[in-house]
Symmetry: C2
Amino acid sequence: MELQNPYYAVIFTSIRTEGDHDYNEMANKMVDLARQQPGFLDVESARDGLGITVSYWESLEAIALWKSNVEHQIAQKKGIRSWYSCYRVRICRVERDYEFKKNKK
Amino acid sequence: MELQNPYYAVIFTSIRTEGDHDYNEMANKMVDLARQQPGFLDVESARDGLGITVSYWESLEAIALWKSNVEHQIAQKKGIRSWYSCYRVRICRVERDYEFKKNKK
């Protein structure tokens, strides 16, 4: 992903409740759905106790549109009701980025 | 953590090489060291294959100071030489945040 700065990141950190409650199925579905949204750029995710998902977007408008997506709204409600004991969302403007890749020898 | 916006986030995503190469010891040491830096706010980390570490800072100056810290510089070099097959660093301005916490019943 090579991009013109600035773009935007949504940092979503969460602690799960016990049990699956259809979480994994819905989480995968939401990633598939996000990828189809206008202005979507990328998503990265990791969990070991704390979960961190960062999605990247072209604009704040694209983030607002994704937040208001009907299926995503249903997932957000289920997140509050069943999946998360707590979460935090941070909307960020990516000011700059750089990367390192090891050369294959 | 309740903060006046804006503040700053450094999103560090990485793929590890095989083997430890003293990585865990140094990673813990770097977190301890970061916590002592001026302008440090918080750090969150998760890894399952992809690693995501997000650190939060009061200002871009605080981030620059941490990047130039001598012990951190040594760790950065070792990161490139031994620990990471690739990584990406994104410097972000947190525009807003909100959180959810489940009420204990």
